[in-house]
């Protein structure tokens, strides 16, 4: 979010999610408030409905609701509520134990487990184990950055790309196919496979783009339909001769050649080159949006298509090119997934990265660096969820619930504002992200 500032497109011209500047940047543009100390200003804004406060409170709210779900779904804890009036401490203690254990595991699995540090320090463990949670977080975050950027970029151009899932699936197909079909030397092979994923996604993004430009078909409908088409195509393709893993009867493809896999730290540390590429892609999208001519055009079209047309921008061309770019990004996300961690096609190879990308973009307020941070948060939730599942026995699905709830609150800042009685932020526009139908 910070790098968005200096390039400086006028904030008010931006269409899309509320463009509240972060708290820390507040004092700068407000000259009259100079006599206030920074601290009082900070405290004043802390409880206002600005982006950071709303985001933090959304996460808190989501985790509260998640805690209720954990308690309600635990028969042992629930039974202590049966005699709540007689011994309330029992119920409260049991609830606190189950919830705090779950969330502690979430943290340990996502960021750091203090036990591994002591183990590494006294020689019973390795330092690799200390970095394992971070590695997992970054591994899960990498594809989400790409799909998130895909959705965010399309948003800025006024298009709602729900097709990230389908584009990512096609990206996995083409990247994996290039990975096990082309006999190429190490570095070239990886680049070729990544490019193949990019092109596959671009192709799948081209279809809704050209249909939108030529016929006005709404991209939401077309991309939803293309998602399932891509999934069915993948399901068919895996079972074909030459693609299916020889000697297997279930749906799994050949393994991607070692020369086309994204290099990782090896061993249990699965974090790979994908996250580096993701950061580069974020910088690239930020540059595209703020510095490139095409970025200006797409923002103009997103803000007001009629005005952009009058100003001489070809709306049709922008829509097509924008969807191709968005598709390419999502395709790269799929490629990262299959070349970085999965290494072979399965019907679920792309998981839910396309739809999660949508949530990530919304959480990141459709800004490149915001999307990167949101993707890392989602990756952390996912990595922590794995540990929570195996240690506390809390289903991984809780993470899906948390993610969805966070984004619901983010999308309805007015709701959060009402719940917490927040002051209206001076420059924040609360309200619909981009309310328009088909």
């Amino acid at each position: 979010m910070t790098t968005d500032g200096p390039a400086g497109p006028p904030k008010t011209a931006d269409e899309g999610a509320a463009d509240a500047p972060a708290v820390e940047k507040k004092p700068a543009p407000q000259q009259p408030a100079q006599e206030d100390s920074f601290l009082s200003h900070f405290l004043h804004n802390l409880w206002a409905a600005n982006t950071v406060t709303v985001t933090v409170l959304s996460i808190v709210l989501a985790m509260l609701i998640g805690a209720i779900l954990i308690i309600v779904s635990d028969p042992d804890v629930l039974s202590t509520f049966g005699y709540f009036t007689a011994r309330p401490a029992d119920a409260l203690n049991a609830s606190w134990t189950v919830v705090s254990n779950a969330y502690a595991d979430l943290f340990k699995g996502a960021i750091l487990d203090p036990a591994t540090i002591t183990a590494a320090a006294d020689g019973t463990g390795t330092w690799r184990q200390v970095f394992f949670p971070i590695s997992e977080t970054l591994t899960y975050a990498a594809p989400l950055v790409f799909t998130g950027l895909s959705v965010a970029l399309a948003f800025r151009g006024g298009l709602f790309n729900i097709g990230g899932q389908g584009q990512a699936v096609v990206g996995t197909i083409t990247a994996a196919a290039a990975g096990f079909l082309l006999p190429l030397p190490p570095v070239v092979h990886l680049i070729a496979a990544l490019l193949a994923g990019l092109l596959g996604g671009a192709l799948w993004g081209f279809v809704p783009g050209i249909l939108k430009a030529r016929t006005g078909a709404h991209e939401v409908i077309v991309t939803i339909m293309l998602n399932y088409t891509a999934n069915l195509f993948l399901g068919w393709l895996i079972l074909q001769k030459g693609v299916q893993q020889p000697g297997r009867s279930d749906a799994i493809s050949k393994t991607v050649d070692g020369s086309a896999q994204l290099p990782s730290f090896g061993g249990e540390l699965r974090a790979n080159l994908g996250i580096v590429l993701a950061v580069l892609a974020t910088a690239g999208v930020a540059w595209l949006l703020n510095r490139a001519a095409f970025g200006f055009e797409l923002r103009a079209v997103g803000a007001n298509p009629a005005a952009a047309r009058t100003a001489g921008i070809s709306v049709a061309k922008t829509y097509t090119l924008l969807m191709v770019t968005a598709g390419a990004l999502a395709g790269l996300g799929g490629a990262t997934q299959v070349l970085g961690t999965a290494h072979a096609l399965t019907p679920q190879v792309a998981g839910n990265i396309g739809f999660d990308g949508l949530l990530v973009a919304l959480l990141g307020r459709n800004k490149p660096w915001g999307t990167l941070l949101a993707a890392i948060l989602f990756g952390a939730l996912r990595a922590g969820g794995n540990r929570m599942q195996s240690f506390s026995g809390i289903s991984l699905e809780l993470v899906t619930v948390l993610q969805a709830l966070i984004v619901i609150f983010i999308a309805a800042p007015a709701l959060v504002k009402a719940i917490f009685h927040l002051r209206a932020a001076r420059s924040a526009r609360l309200g619909a992200s981009m309310a328009k139908g088909w």
Binding site: A213, Y228, L362, V401, A411, A432, K436, G437
Partner: protein
């Protein structure tokens, strides 16, 4: 943004020209007719194709030589295409188009069934069974979208409905308690959608997509915590009984399909008629359509825009929830994680393909149900046509429809736009 403005912006204005809709349709039908007559005709073996009037190979049957049938129906499709292209049937355009597509499907069937048999009763009842949740889901969409609230959360409503039906149905050992709680599950999702979309003005497509994920997460979470460890206590709902209407059920083909079945099938069909009647003939329907097309005008004459939208979206939640009950109480008999697997989006496709009307949705749902049933039949008899491609049909057909390649579909004008009273 409505499709009309997008068209204007992208400069696709259409003056009267040679390639009008009729001619383009004609060319399309001619092309599929050619494929049918030549490709299917060549590929079809010259053996008898039997269409039996029962649930298996027994009993009376309609029989035709596969190759002859494929060519014959292909030629019929060609003829329909030629009539359309020549502009001879301006008044019966829909009829001739349907005839062309039907002939194409029959030609395809003759090719596939040649040397085998296709039980018509089984196919028809299977089609209807697959279509019932689609009909209910699409009707929920009709209610919401005709009043201006986009509902892409049908999938989530299905899941919550299916889950609620399994959970409460098992705990109360009653099918009807299951159906009731399925409706409650659907209303829960619809309620969140309504509040966020109408009260908090959040983008409706965004809310819908996020609600789908929320429903997926909540049902998956509770499934793993409650149902998986103790299925007999939480996940063995009684199945919905099949009722047979004496007399009517003895009519060949139609009887067993329509009159020896469960209550949800009848509910779906009755709702199609009811909602069609309601939308076109009642005060509620007129107001709903007004609110969906021009809320400001409706408000000016005293219609409570937001109230009506709440009512319709919640009613849609009841219907979609009941559709979800179909998955657990009729189709499989237990809940499973993500068991609807995209059916909600096929229902959405049926809604759009059916042009936001109840009978259109019914037709589209039946068509999609038939495609799915045919896909399972073909993979069962080992056809060279992959079932996945038939399963793609609903999605591809919808893309063709919204792109206006075969007559454009148009959404209600205010669909998806929150109403802010000024």
């Amino acid at each position: 943004m409505s499709t009309a403005t997008a068209e204007k912006l992208t400069g696709a204005a259409a003056p009267a020209r040679f390639w009008d809709r009729q001619r383009r349709l004609g060319v399309g039908v001619l092309a599929i007719g050619l494929v049918a007559a030549v490709l299917f005709g060549v590929l079809a073996p010259s053996q008898d194709a039997r269409f039996t009037l029962s649930e298996d190979a027994e009993g009376a049957a309609l029989t035709i030589n596969g190759q002859l049938g494929a060519i014959l129906f292909g030629v019929l499709a060609l003829a329909a295409g030629a009539v359309l292209f020549a502009g001879l049937a301006r008044r019966f355009q829909t009829g001739v188009l349907s005839l062309g597509i039907l002939a194409f499907v029959l030609s395809f069937l003759c090719w596939q069934v040649a040397g085998k048999f296709l039980p018509l009763v089984d196919t028809a009842s299977g089609t209807l069974e697959l279509a019932v949740p689609l009909i209910l889901g699409a009707l929920a969409g009709v209610l919401g979208e005709r009043s201006g609230v986009v509902n892409v959360a049908i999938e989530g409503q299905f899941l919550m409905g299916a889950f609620g039906a399994a959970l409460v149905g098992t705990m109360a050992t009653s099918v009807w308690a299951g159906v009731l709680s399925a409706a409650v599950g659907g209303v829960l999702i619809a309620g969140i959608l309504a509040v966020l979309a109408i009260r908090y003005l959040v983008d409706q497509v965004v809310v819908g997509i996020v609600l789908n994920l929320l429903a997926l997460g909540v049902t998956g979470f509770l499934y793993e915590r409650l149902m998986q460890p103790d299925a007999p206590a939480y996940n063995q709902p009684p199945k919905m009984p099949e009722w047979r209407i004496p007399g009517l059920a003895d009519i060949p083909v139609v009887g067993p399909v329509l009159f020896d079945t469960n209550a949800l099938v009848w509910l779906a069909l009755l709702l199609v008629v009811g909602i069609h009647f309601g939308l076109t003939r009642t005060r509620w329907g007129l107001r709903t359509r007004a609110v969906g097309e021009h809320p400001t005008a409706a408000d000016t004459v005293g219609v409570r825009v937001r109230g009506l939208r709440y009512l319709n979206v919640l009613a849609g939640g009841v219907i979609a929830g009941a559709g979800g009950a179909y998955f657990t109480l009729v189709a499989t008999g237990s809940f499973n994680k993500n068991m609807t697997s995209g059916a909600g989006f096929i229902a959405l496709a049926a809604l759009i393909f059916g042009r936001w009307t109840p009978f259109g949705a019914l037709g589209a749902a039946l068509f999609f149900g038939f495609a799915q049933k045919l896909a399972t039949y073909l993979s069962a008899v080992g056809s060279p046509v992959p079932s996945q491609f038939l399963n793609m049909l609903p999605y591809l057909a919808t893309i063709v429809a919204v792109a206006g390649l075969v007559g454009r579909v148009r959404a209600p004008a205010a669909d998806g736009q929150p109403y802010i009273k000024s």
